[in-house]
Symmetry: C2
């Protein structure tokens, strides 16, 4: 089948969906127990599962059929298959898009110039696993022979948010073999506070920069080197490894303890399952835990191949999101995990989504005439209930919601208090919120009136294990990819970050700059 | 002067502003060095200052005049003065609103039944200071005689977000005398992971709940008590203090080591400067640091009395925000501190703002016909630049921005790398972003085109000290209050959080519940 890349609003189901979006059926009339059972897709992860329940979304059979037509017409499944076969999907930068391949082959091997690209990722994973085992068993130590007990990732953006979110997500699942800390911001206080709280003599640092030229990361390397030297460490770079591309200035520099590689086919925000996340997560939890995470992601990647929305939760989630964004005109989405372990998962998804689809030109560089990526924000529940949920319930705007929950907690520690466990209370709160948002409550006092009709979905699993975490990550990555296909965007570049870099360089340089910028720079002592 | 509470859209400047908001003047034509100098208000904090620069906001002299008329017509300054004099401004709950008084008297003493209410707050601060000194000097220890070296705050919402954000904000300013940790979520893994990383034998716990009945907090108390008992601690409540109202079940219970009090006149999200934040911050950094923070907040509170926008940064910020929200129709606002220390400050402001003004009825309980509180989100820069800024620069929606920056860093640690310090790089990035958002950049390649015209403001100071932090906090609290006055809301209640509580109780109880809720609850093992 030949693929066509058309603007979304030229597809024939667009108009029908626009009409349906103006008057979606009310949740009050639709939401019942049968719907809770039927409006659900489960992804099989071997002995585990990840379920996507959309009973509380404002879609009925008619809308779902239209969304299926839209998915078919936009050739979503075929585009995804083509991507996993190694087609150049990052058109602006003329690159393949291969983060799926870092977990496993979705559509067979991908080769380039006779080279098996999957073998490259597998090889790096193997190298990381071997290195990790040697660190854990004490074969690899500092030059002074001290065992490493802490790992500090130095990276920013995709080299920080995803790995950090995943590290925190597993802290209750397994006691880390090595504590992980993260330095990201060029603000020197970020590194200073991290360094105050670790022992530099027993810390292993991971420098993560694909290009090997990221300003923040190189600056923080310099700062850390200074602190290590001050602490009397003779060869500080022998406590550092690099994760970078093979052609970067950081690569294969024998001053460092070791290097692991990534390539241009995995963008920063999709790199958690490459060496970018692999090194720190393997060192923290062991390579087998990271392997389980990859397996979970791979299962979700396979599920995303199905052209039928009823069997493809990522695609369905994407379509419902587009229905809300473009046809119900709702400009933001909240991600609300009922799991403290996922405290930074919304921040990672904020990057993954907003950096991928926050675009106003299509993949051919032409302006689009419809809205694209929404604002993504979120915090864990129940915390958020005592915070911004007021606006979600009774504000003047409707914010679509994406809940995440688990039947069991990670640590196994719990207490029964007033007749229920903490985990039961957590989940009682979660389901109560879904009902409150959907159904609302009348009250003669308008201040106590809840309008309801606020749509939400629920991703849930038995427990937040590495496998489930991998599947969750892949679910959202694939959702974002499908939405990008629908909007006819290139979701894999990020030209919007360039101008700031250019102007920063100009501020730090000696040349003339815009007078207003000059005035601001002087105010803040930046030049 | 008698106060009138009118809906915003009935004021005479409303129509002119609506017209101006449709065609705001372009930043490209307006933004120059003179404007950077002129469009700034400085708040004097004694030896320090906090500046609000609005040169990159899409307001000109005409709009500013209209906003001044609106402020006058809405009687913003008078309403604020009345609030600080003890008028019942939380009308729904029939309560005064006195968080300002916890920092100092803005309009003289506030009395009730002959009682000086300011004296109550001062007395609690004094009691906390005395208690803190005894903990620090070892006069107060565990029953076993162990010195306390860690303080763990157990609270949620306003008892968590503000105190936590402020604690983190000062971690680089001063090495804590006691490490502080926070347990908030009813998810048992939250407490489990915190407890794994502290020594229970030397930890002091602060239970914070105004009502003394918060489900999450009491459940976490039970969980912590269990862990302490298992660790062989005989009288675990002698390692706990309470911060609660004098009438709560937690108050004056001699099983606890001590209790400190708050009252109903300070809402949770405004309670950081009461005993809710005072206990943990004083224990962590010393009472004099907390006192400096209060003094900074008080200075900002005094500045907010000025009826002239040109001298009142909080009021001006509020008005510009309303111009963007209601007249330019921009539904969200990003808060972007260029300071890693403020990593959780946006999450606190998300609560403060969205819980206060996410309302659809006015203070008389009548539906309003205009939009109110926006979605608030944010992360520190430069991190965000490598994340969601793509959408901010090139997305289809415009998001107003609120930058925060400091000339100097907190720790004093820095490094010169490639000709500039980290702090210079940080601030060069900050000002470069302001220019990039405002001015954009043309490019023949539409993918590299930056439309610009994206408005931002900048709050800045010399350094993030306790005093500046207090002023920043008060700036935003007062901004939110003024916006609430403009929208004619009661910004001080939160009825929107109630329905979830009721339904949670129903799920955990034995009675019949909505069939869809029952089905969801069974899925997640919540009943």
């Amino acid at each position: 089948m030949s693929l066509e890349y058309k603007n979304f609003d030229t597809l024939s189901s667009y108009r029908d969906l626009a009409a349906a979006g103006k008057q979606p059926r009310s949740l009050e009339t639709m939401l019942d127990a049968k719907r809770v059972e039927r409006y659900e897709v489960k992804t099989d992860l071997g002995t585990e599962y990840l379920a996507y329940n959309y009973a509380a979304k404002k879609v009925d059979e008619n809308v779902l059929e239209l969304l299926q037509s839209l998915a078919d017409e936009a050739q979503l499944a075929e585009k995804y298959r083509t991507l996993t076969q190694g087609e150049v999907m990052n058109t602006g930068e003329n690159r393949k898009v291969l983060h799926h391949l870092s977990r496993g082959e979705v559509s067979g091997p991908v080769t380039e110039d006779g080279k098996d690209l999957g073998a490259f990722y597998r090889n790096q994973q193997q190298r990381i696993a071997t290195f990790t085992q040697k660190v854990h068993d004490g074969t690899i130590t500092t030059p002074e022979g001290t065992r490493f007990d802490t790992v500090v990732q130095i990276g920013i953006g995709g080299s920080d948010l995803g790995p950090r979110a995943l590290y925190l997500a597993l802290e209750g699942y397994a006691t880390p073999k090595m504590k992980a800390r993260f330095i990201s911001n060029v603000d020197p206080d970020d590194a200073a506070v991290v360094l105050q709280n670790i022992n530099p003599q027993s810390s292993l640092f991971i420098l993560v920069s694909k290009s090997g030229t990221t300003q923040e990361t190189l600056t923080n390397e310099a700062l850390v080197l200074g602190v290590l030297e001050k602490a009397g460490i003779q060869q500080p770079r022998k406590q550092m490894i690099c994760v970078t591309s093979e052609t970067s200035p950081l690569a294969k520099n024998s001053e460092y303890l070791d290097s692991f590689f990534i390539d241009d086919y995995i963008g920063g925000r999709f790199s958690s399952t490459s060496a970018v996340g692999g090194a720190v997560l393997s060192l923290a939890y062991g390579p087998e835990v990271f392997r389980d995470l990859l397996d979970g992601a791979h299962s979700a990647d396979l599920a995303a191949l199905d052209p039928s929305l009823q069997n493809n939760p990522a695609m369905l989630d994407a379509l419902i999101g587009v229905f809300e964004r473009n046809f119900m005109n709702l400009p933001s989405t909240a991600i609300l995990p009922y799991s403290q372990a996922l405290s930074r998962f919304p921040a990672h998804l904020q990057q993954a989504d907003m950096e991928s689809n926050g675009k106003q030109v299509n993949r051919f560089g032409k302006p689009v005439s419809y809205v694209t990526g929404p604002v993504i924000f979120g915090e864990p529940g129940t915390n958020g209930q005592h915070s911004f949920y007021q606006l979600l319930h009774q504000g003047t705007d409707i914010i679509p919601l994406q809940f995440i929950g688990f039947l069991k907690n990670q640590t196994g520690m719990d207490t029964t208090f007033e007749g229920s466990t903490s985990q039961q209370k957590l989940n009682a709160n979660l389901v109560a919120q879904i009902a409150a948002f959907a159904l609302g409550k009348d009250d003669d006092n308008a201040n106590k009136h809840f309008p309801g009709e606020r749509p939400s979905s629920l991703l849930y699993a038995d427990k937040l294990t590495p496998r489930v975490l991998g599947a969750l990550l892949a679910h959202f990555e694939n959702k974002i990819m499908f939405q990008g296909f629908l909007w006819n965007l290139n979701s894999f570049d990020q030209e919007g970050v360039q101008l700031g870099k250019v102007l920063t360089k100009a501020v730090l340089g000696a040349g003339e700059i815009h007078p207003a910028l000059q005035a601001l720079a002087e105010k803040l002592g930046a030049r």
